[in-house]
Symmetry: C2
Subunit: 466 residues, 2 copies
């Protein structure tokens, strides 16, 4: 870090990339290799991924064995495939053995089947069996994201023996900081952190200092629950047991970050009426996107038939009072936006555990008050705006006081309806076991569109005798 | 964990809560205290928070000094305030000294000012100065979420000395697993993990094994960047330096989980046209919500004036061809939903770093193809549906083949327009430094509403000579 005192991290990275690019362009392979070995494996992976396709394997081959495996683990699926297709079986085998099991399983789930076959063939029988075992757990379960590389201790060990064991077997473990105490038949009996080990005397017996009140997950638990536990209890790693209470793996905190990102992306997708996809946007093809998007668009389009039917039944009245037609989009939009605010707020609140389905009454009461405040404000602004802008400024004589009153009163009731429905439906969905995220803007808008229209036209009937 | 072999974690928790409730109801305080001391501090905090307000301080006073501080750190602001108002100054002082600095600063940001004053008065001058210093960093900066409790080492120490230092000072540190090597003037020179220390011989000198290629953040960096670095590089903790390169704090991985949750919530709120709030839904009052929601609703409502103007200019034509009115909501809805899908997908992709603003051309090309596929599908389905349902089933003779063709062709062009605009605007926003999340459903819908109408009515002009 010398001579870089006044540089921020990004500037250092940029300088590093420039240096590497220069070395590569001038074919100074020895210097390039030396520079890469000094770097963080994530940065090496990022640098390689930006190169041209046929250059990537060439530069990858410069890396030392350990660096190669670490960089490989940091690659996305396309680069992993590229490398697998350009190295020998024995090089591939070495990389697979060096990968943590959860990274290997992740990779298998993304690679095309012919590549998976080759990878499996080069792995040792033991690794192959483990990968196969882990691939069998349901998608998005604790089992599917756990890893097998953890430190296990026995309760009769003392601190000195435990630390000696960690020093002996720790190198290949994903985390050494939380150690798991298991019985002879591999049942989980307690956990102990390296911090606790270091802060106790060498002769203290593990059983006396281990925590028997273990927070754990089971292989079939949903990954979202696992993430919540790690987050709530501030854990470094959570043990995963099978139905018999035997320790079969651990999930570490860095996996949780990926899970949280994935689950949030899923919510965003569902809330915008898309079928969630495992793949990032940049790697999803047009045909695939069409499949994820068109069913919902179709459903919502066909649902709008109700709105059309309502409008058609008022067709003759509207042909006489044509001025009313112009405000339909504004009323529908305001209803949709009001409903979207409430549904989004409630969906998110449910998803982070801030609101429980049992809070439904207090939620409705709150949204009712908010909707009256918002509705009254918007209604008043709209009344003034219609008379000042539509009538005076744009000179539309059909916009009378009574028309402005009709539209403004509709605004009030539409906002109230939209907010109450928007906040209630997600909670009801959660109660009956449907993902609340489904009850977001697109569906709420379709409902509020039809009801907004009914409210508007019924009020117009009373005020304008249409 | 004995006798609980076949129970999952949730069932165990429930049983625990039942036992505690029974002990409390029967006023068996000694047993209650003993049971609470055995539990995880998070579970104790959860149990207490569910009790009646006047019972919480009573039960809290049962806890031992260490447990009390840990439980306090796990409380939300309302419970923290309740406890602060019910304990003595010296009890409060002890708790404050036991809190990690980042938790103390978080608390200060949420408490009412009179409570903050009392807390500051009971803290030691040293803690008070530190809290004041940390409170000065901009909201959502690395400085505002960092903590001061880390292990610092010198590069001339050997492994034995380093481990001895960790054992001596480690107890009060937020993490001991990443240690930071600093020079005499506190400049950051390297990092070393406890894993590396344990895996090397006692006599190895730190300088030889420390990593000098340090991933670091600066105090004024945005917390989102900090979270990304910890996630990208799979760090346990990241050092935070001031402008002179001096180490002033660290951010640990558990803080990142909170940051990610907070940033995702913010995106959800912005994307549903709400001003983001620091407080969770359950603790935001109706008047406050009105303030967060009504400005956007107003802006969008007033923007709909353009749509009204377009409709009004076609008023007379629509009065003749009233059948066209009924399909306006469906067309606007389909446009809005199509645009929302694309904008949400792109906003999320930008936010997780999957798409860069420079990818704009490939994004537009992809969305163009998706929109043609979606548009053609929906157009065909709509054509068949209008003739089968609207004309034959609902018996509306005005729905002729040429009317169905007009509406269906509009669907195609509206979907194409909406998807291209929906995917482009977030990228353009990012390019000019505006939060792309603003370009979500509500705003996109307002734009597509007006353009959808124009497309529809222009096509109707050609086909139906309105």
């Amino acid at each position: 870090m010398e001579n870089m005192d006044n540089m921020d991290f990004e500037a250092m990275l940029e300088q590093q990339t420039d240096t590497l690019t220069e070395l590569l362009e001038n074919r100074k392979m020895r210097e390039l290799k030396a520079a890469l070995e000094e770097m963080n494996e994530y940065d090496v992976a990022e640098f390689l991924a930006e190169l041209e396709e046929n250059t990537i394997p060439m530069v990858f081959r410069l890396l030392s064995k350990e660096m190669a495996a670490d960089v490989f683990a940091n690659f996305d699926a396309p680069e992993q495939e590229l490398i697998i297709n350009s190295i020998t079986d024995s090089e591939l085998g070495a990389i697979i053995e060096d990968l943590y099991l959860d990274d290997a399983v992740d990779m298998m789930e993304e690679l095309p089947s012919n590549v998976v076959k080759r990878v499996m063939r080069t792995a040792t029988p033991e690794t192959r069996n483990l990968i196969n075992l882990y691939l069998k757990f349901p998608e998005n379960s604790a089992g599917s994201i756990m890893t097998a590389e953890f430190v296990d201790l026995k309760k009769y060990m003392n601190v000195r023996e435990a630390i000696a064991r960690i020093r002996r077997i720790g190198e290949d473990k994903e985390t050494i900081y939380t150690c798991f105490v298991v019985s002879a038949d591999r049942k989980l009996e307690g956990v102990i952190s390296v911090k606790d080990l270091l802060l106790h005397d060498d002769d203290t017996v593990i059983e006396e200092i281990m925590d028997t009140n273990v927070v754990f997950a089971m292989t079939h638990d949903d990954q979202e629950e696992v993430a919540e536990k790690i987050s709530d209890y501030d854990l470094m790693a959570i043990p995963v047991t099978d139905k018999e209470g035997r320790l079969v793996g651990i999930v570490t905190v860095d996996d949780v970050i990926d899970v949280m990102e994935q689950e949030a992306t899923e919510d965003f997708e569902i809330m915008a009426a898309m079928t969630p996809s495992d793949k990032p946007y940049s790697r999803t093809g047009a045909a695939e996107m069409w499949k994820l998007r068109v069913p919902w668009l179709m459903f919502l389009m066909l649902s709008a038939t109700f709105t059309s039917m309502i409008l058609n039944s008022f067709e003759d009245a509207l042909a006489v009072q044509t001025v009313l037609i112009g405000f339909i989009p504004m009323l529908m939009g305001t209803g949709g936006n009001s409903g979207a605010q409430s549904s989004t707020a409630v969906i998110r609140s449910l998803s982070i555990g801030d609101t429980e389905p049992s809070d439904i009454l207090s939620v409705v009461w709150k949204e009712l008050r908010v909707s009256m405040l918002c509705g009254a404000t918007l209604s008043a602004i709209n009344f003034v705006k219609m008379l000042l802008v539509d009538r005076s400024l744009l000179g539309n004589p059909e916009v009378t006081v009574i028309v402005a009153a009709t539209v403004s009163m509709s605004v009030l009731f539409i906002v109230m309806f939209a907010k109450v429905v928007g906040s209630t439906l997600p909670i009801l969905a959660e109660k009956i076991g449907v993902d609340p995220a489904v009850m977001a803007n697109p569906l709420i808008s379709t409902i509020t569109d039809a009801v907004s229209l009914l409210i508007y036209l019924e009020i117009a009937k009373v005020f304008l005798h249409i």
